[in-house]
């Protein structure tokens, strides 16, 4: 948590904006070894950039200050020679070149520093990006321990996690600013990335490459849990959905299978669609519709009934479902802990 905040006057101007909770996407401060060396480099380059602006600004203004000199005549030139003044260029460009060289070396060192995690990752998460949500699949050598969720990625604190990124349709970009820079998700190729969170918490991410109508609403969350909590979470995710405990919930499940099962899966039920997010443990997630809405019963009902008004162009159609059937579905979904 004690990442170096370089202390310069200009940084202090920006520092109030670095308040943590208020800016969940700010990467002025990062929380893991995949991001921290980059953040230090970014601050370094930023300070160089501001210094250059300040120096040029001062030179420019000072050059225009009135100086005590005899006034120029109407057709008089200030300098009647076009060969002078070049020492400005030689000195200025010489210093700039040295600074550039230093920054280039620092950059190369940082590329190397964040290329690989210090220890091998034990967890591999496969992300399939789609218009406009994130399918999240936890890989495992043992096929029975593979599970799928969406838009909310849990990782253990202090451990590197490897991500394999694929696209189901167009180009997206996977970006959790407080943990690392973005990497594009490109159909036909698998890009990889590693992340590590050094502090427990929730890190927001968002698609970084324009991908169509709802590019603006393609958020995701990385939740860094203490290793114990992470194991408990993944064990829960591995289980199929609990069977409905009452007749009303049974009706809700049937309505879900009939109306929603072509696109959505709930493991342990006949609903096995793969076009939309897996909803087996829907209630373990904080948001729905890729971060657009908080996961509340009211929002769920509104989303099912009128997704096109909430997220125009979304692949999820607004479902014309009778009121009682809708509430049965929503009640059933509430049981998917």
């Amino acid at each position: 948590m004690k990442r170096a905040r370089c202390g310069s006057a200009l940084v202090l101007c920006i520092a109030p904006l670095v308040a943590d909770a208020a800016e969940p996407m700010s990467y002025l401060r990062t929380f893991g070894p995949a991001g921290d060396p980059v953040t230090r480099l970014g601050w370094g380059l930023g300070i160089v950039a501001l210094a250059v602006c300040a120096i040029v600004g001062v030179l420019l203004l000072a050059g225009m200050l009135p100086r005590v000199r005899p006034p120029l005549g109407r057709r008089e030139l200030a300098v009647r020679d076009d060969s002078g003044g070049t020492s400005w260029i030689y000195i200025g460009v010489g210093i700039s070149t040295l600074v550039l060289l230093a920054c280039a070396i620092w950059t190369m060192a940082t590329i190397a520093a964040v290329a690989m995690p210090a220890q091998a990752s034990e967890t591999t998460v496969q992300i399939s990006a789609a218009q406009w949500w994130w399918n999240v699949r936890y890989l495992n050598r043992d096929p029975s321990r593979i599970f799928t969720t969406a838009n909310e990625i849990h990782i253990p604190v202090g451990r590197p996690v490897r991500f394999e990124l694929e696209s189901r349709d167009v180009i997206h970009s996977f970006w959790i600013p407080r943990l690392a820079g973005k990497i594009d998700v490109i159909p036909g190729q698998t890009n990889t990335l590693w992340l590590q969170a050094d502090a427990p918490g929730t890190y927001r991410g968002q698609c970084g490459e324009y991908c169509g109508a709802q590019h603006a609403h393609m958020a995701m969350w990385v939740v860094a849990d203490e290793p114990r909590d992470y194991i408990a979470w993944s064990e829960r995710q591995l289980r199929p959905a609990a069977p409905p405990a009452s007749e009303a919930l049974e009706r809700g499940q049937q309505a879900f299978v009939a109306n929603c099962g072509a696109c959505h899966s709930i493991r342990g039920t006949p609903a096995g669609g793969i076009l939309g997010p897996d909803l087996t443990h829907l209630m373990s997630r904080g948001t729905i519709a890729a971060g657009l809405l908080r996961n509340t019963p009211g929002n769920l009902a509104a989303w099912i009934a009128d997704s096109q008004a909430l997220k125009p162009g979304s692949r999820m159609p607004s479902m014309a479902i009778a009121g009682n059937e809708l509430s049965a579905i929503v009640s059933y979904l509430q049981t998917l802990q």
């Binding site: 969940p24 076009d82 070049t86 400005w88 280039a104 970006w175 600013p177 036909g188 968002q206 324009y210």
Partner: protein, 650 residues
């Protein structure tokens, strides 16, 4: 070309002594009166003004699009625009500003000014010049044709596949963009060719290559760059159109195609293009700023060389738009280093301008303010570019508002500020009248303050993680208040542009009379009347230094330029052709007269593209035939255009 029977020594004349010369030249060069005459005109000055006016019309269109977007983004979760509308607006805003404003406006300056600066009577290929303008105009209209239908291009100006391919974008939106860009590429290519040949062949005798103003270097470099860059994007758009309409699979990952191929082709063009739209503008500053510092530019040779170097390096940095695509670290390191290196030639120019201001005596006229303001904005845009050159940092910065800030500092800073300053500077030459100093200063300060309030905070938005190209954003991200400031600043900037346009409108009738050289500037365009006569110069000037109009006041100059007496060349439309490096006269160039052929060919060509858009092969076939007819009419041999050798060299 050289017909030994036709050897002829040009008559040397002194128009001051013979009052019959100028009326005769006027009759030779004049465009026929009336609307049809105007459509057939090949006069570079008319074409230049048309380019300027058309480019500014597109600037206003692009500005209105931005104004709507800024309203939508001023607060979180607004629904003034639908996502579809927003996506079309941001795409058309980019397309308009980058392709229909930024380069054409510079072509306008260059078209109007080149023959005047070079001491010639027209561009090397006057009809090609007219053709280039008409194609630009028609391509611009073509690109906007689906806008009223709500089907404008909507995949961003960068138009990444597969989002822009048929399965994800089935309307005509992308076809309009693809075909429009191929058509516009024709205009850019012929225009660039014309500039290159003009600078090599039509400079005044004695204007050796190391005596041309930096604007010429900038436009020459940009033109050579375009000749190499435009084919890449033309190819990309043709392949995309074939994928969409003829069933090929160049970019379809499902059939072995490569989405990244698009990005390589697009940015191999896109990055050099950025330099093509800033180098001529930097040239404007390098030439005009010294006039207001009352001294020659510091480091002419270094600045000229850095101009060329920028473009050469500019062809080696395209991958810095692709740092997040998962390319191997070794190639990323190479392109990162190249992107750092390209800062060096820019630093040369900045220190040359600073030294010019320091060692000169700044005169605070309106153009000077725009140029000095430009230097500051250029540096801010430059250092934010330097930050994005660093691969790991760029993987945070890219596709955030930091890059939006950077590119607007670059494009508005390095293009719009010099262009507006350049208009204030050359308006007297264009119209014979001065613009208002008072309104000009108001306009500068409004633009400068509005610009910085509007665009500087975008850097902070980017650092706070706001992605680009989102039509809205939720509360709780910390972006809301800054976006409100950005919107207010953008509107203030727009107000400044409006003041400038009002000044232009008012001054063209009511400005004070300017006289030939109101700023006491050193280059040849100021040697002729304002506005210049249709033949530019009554006799071809001969040049003996870099600063023909200052040389009597320069220390230690040898030889002197001759402006009052020179080659008359009045046997039809004629100018002198000179050798490439030393500008030794070696041929009398007989210039073609006005003609309808360029306009007809441009129209026929546009109809070809309309046919392709409608996939109506009959229309395409008919229009191709019409193009051939127009080309034959254009190239029909005219005995009067047989070139003659000048034996009076040396």
């Amino acid at each position: 070309m050289a017909n030994t029977d036709a050897l002829r020594t040009p008559v040397i004349a002194r128009p001051g002594a013979d009052a019959s010369i100028e009326p005769r030249l006027k009759r030779i060069w004049e465009t026929a009166p009336g609307f049809v005459g105007a459509l057939c005109s090949v006069d570079h000055k008319s074409i230049g003004k048309r380019y300027l006016v058309t480019a500014f019309a597109f600037l206003v269109a692009g500005g209105l699009e931005a104004a709507l977007m800024r309203l939508q983004l001023a607060r979180p979760d607004q629904s003034l625009l639908t996502p579809d509308q927003y996506n079309q607006l941001f795409t058309m805003h980019g397309v308009t500003m980058i392709f229909l404003y930024a380069l054409p406006v510079l072509s306008g300056f260059s078209n109007f000014l080149w023959p005047l600066i070079l001491g010639s009577r027209d561009m090397a290929f006057p009809r090609l010049n007219a053709f280039s303008y008409w194609v630009f105009l028609l391509a611009g209209i073509f690109l906007y044709s689906s806008f009223p239908l709500g089907r404008a291009p909507d995949a961003g100006w960068f138009n990444y596949v597969p989002y822009s391919s048929l399965p994800y974008n089935p309307g005509i939106n992308i076809d309009v963009y693809a075909l429009g860009m191929v058509l516009l590429g024709v205009s850019t290519t012929v225009g660039s060719t014309n500039f290159i040949v003009s600078v090599i062949r039509t400079r005044a005798p004695g204007m050796s290559i190391n005596r041309v103003p930096i604007l010429i270097w900038g436009t020459l470099t940009a033109s050579v760059g375009n000749i190499f860059a435009v084919p890449a994007v033309t190819l990309a758009f043709i392949l995309l159109w074939m994928d969409r309409r003829l069933g090929t699979h160049f970019f379809d990952p499902g059939a072995g195609g490569q989405p990244l191929l698009w990005q390589h082709l697009f940015w191999m063009f896109g990055h050099p293009w950025v330099y093509a739209i800033v180098l001529p503008a930097m040239g404007i500053v390098s030439d005009a700023l010294p006039t207001f510092c009352r001294r020659p530019l510091v480091g002419y040779t270094l600045v000229a060389l850095s101009t060329v170097t920028t473009m050469v390096l500019g062809f080696g940095v395209w991958v810095h738009h692709m740092f997040a695509t998962g390319l191997p670290p070794v190639s990323l390191s190479f392109f990162s280093a190249a992107s750092f290196v390209i800062v060096i030639p820019s630093a040369v120019a900045v220190f040359a301008w600073l030294a010019t201001i320091w060692t000169g005596r700044p005169q605070f006229r309106t153009p000077f303010l725009f140029f000095a303001g430009f230097v500051m904005v250029f540096v801010i845009g430059g250092v934010s570019g330097f930050m994005t050159a660093s691969v790991p940092v760029d993987r945070q910065l890219t596709d955030t508002y930091f890059v939006v800030a950077h590119l607007h500092y670059v494009l508005i800073g390095i293009n719009v500020f010099p262009v507006v300053g350049g208009i204030y500077y050359w308006f007297p030459k264009f119209t014979g009248r001065m613009m208002s100093e008072r309104l000009g200063k108001w306009s500068f300060w409004t633009m400068f303050v509005g610009f910085n309030i509007g665009f500087f905070p975008m850097h902070i938005l980017g650092l706070l993680g706001m992605p680009r190209r989102i039509y809205t954003y939720p509360e709780g991200m910390g972006w809301g208040p800054i976006n409100m400031i950005v919107t207010l600043g953008a509107y203030l900037f727009a107000l400044g542009v409006l003041l400038f346009l009002i000044d232009v409108w008012r001054s063209r009738r009511h400005g004070a009379a300017a006289g030939p050289n109101p700023w006491d500037a050193p280059s040849l365009e100021w040697a002729t009347a304002s506005p210049p006569p249709v033949y530019n110069f009554a006799v071809i000037p001969s040049v003996a230094s870099r600063y023909p109009l200052w040389e009597d006041r320069m220390k230690g100059h040898t030889g002197s330029s001759e402006l009052a007496e020179g080659m008359l060349l009045d046997d039809g439309r004629e100018t002198i052709g000179t050798s490439g490096l030393d500008a030794e006269p070696d041929v009398i160039l007989r210039m073609p007269g006005d003609s309808a052929a360029p306009l007809l060919l441009a129209c026929a060509l546009a109809i070809v593209f309309i046919g392709l858009l409608m996939q109506s092969w009959w229309v395409v076939g008919f229009a191709v035939f019409a193009s051939l007819v127009a080309t034959i009419a254009w190239l029909w041999p005219e005995p009067a255009l047989g070139q003659t050798m000048d034996i009076a060299r040396g």
